[in-house]
Symmetry: C2
Subunit: 150 residues, 2 copies
DNA sequence: CGTAAATCATACTGATTCGGTCTGAATTGC
DNA sequence: GCAATTCAGACCGAATCAGTATGATTTACG
């Protein structure tokens, strides 16, 4: 029942990207430094985020990454799925693969609990966007804050 | 974000024990067989459940295990904590250890999300008891069903 | 053009965790 | 006393995870 470091890193990095949204592309190094994430590891995560269509990369000098869409359209669930695959509390309560469920399902007392848990988790993750995250964090408290927001 | 096999096994085994509640102690072997769980592994889990006070063991021939209390008093969260330790979505959103939080917390955009997730999970797990689990599983569909319940 | 800055891509590795087994001691009903 | 059963802890192989290393490709800028 624990988040992977991939998810923790990716969400924080994406929040950073959302904060910078509208300006030019931001380099991996900047984000890694500000969020204290191993640069090479983050690079790996960004590739997955790019393949998932959440961000786009600009190569070459002065290049970097930026959000593909607007912060309102990216949920925490999207980010998690991009770097960790489908969200699945257990093999018998996962999204994606519909009904190759365990044969035990019909008489398993645990199944309804896992289903509720799965739904609860997914609904929390899918109902929070990058926009929401920025909105509930006072700008002046954020690292990497651009404008000297007084 | 996945349940451990310890939790999956332990919850199923405890449901079985709840179902047998009232009769004499049930042996490890019976439960392991009915729920298709490696016996020696389950033994390990039962030791933890016993240390947590959820079940009691009777040694010797014709011995076995039974619930310490009534099914209404045991939640899925209790079982999970007994075999897997405190529930913690990440190091900065866990139960137990109160505030040795990460120094990033005040300016971290991700923190509120993890806190909501943690609360959501814990509240689902703590609001479901063994009694509830049996109640929502038709008796006739259960394995190890004793009475020919018609 | 050349060079430096940056993304792209993949293979590798070291450590930790996980799921499960092995061996054996202690207890108790029959 | 013997068989059944819980108690206890050490052990182990495999998978996963977090992170690194290496190098190719692209592009702004002087």
């Amino acid at each position: 029942m624990k988040l992977s470091s991939r998810t923790e890193y990716a969400v924080r990095a994406m929040a950073e990207l959302a904060q910078m949204h509208g300006g030019g592309p931001v380099s991996l190094r900047e984000i890694a430094e500000r969020q204290d994430i191993p640069e090479k590891y983050l690079e790996q995560l960004f590739r997955q985020l790019r393949k998932a269509g959440l961000i786009k990369g600009v190569r070459g000098a002065q290049g970097g990454y930026s959000l593909t869409g607007v912060p309102r359209d990216v949920t925490v669930g999207d980010i998690m799925r991009a770097v960790d695959g489908p969200i699945a509390v257990c093999s018998c309560a996962s999204e994606g693969r519909g009904e190759d469920d365990c044969e035990r399902k019909p008489h398993c007392a645990a199944h309804p609990v896992w289903a509720r848990l799965q739904n609860g988790i997914v609904s929390i993750l899918d109902s929070t966007t990058l926009y929401d995250m920025l909105a509930e964090t006072p700008a002046s408290d954020m690292q990497g804050n651009r404008g000297g927001g007084s």
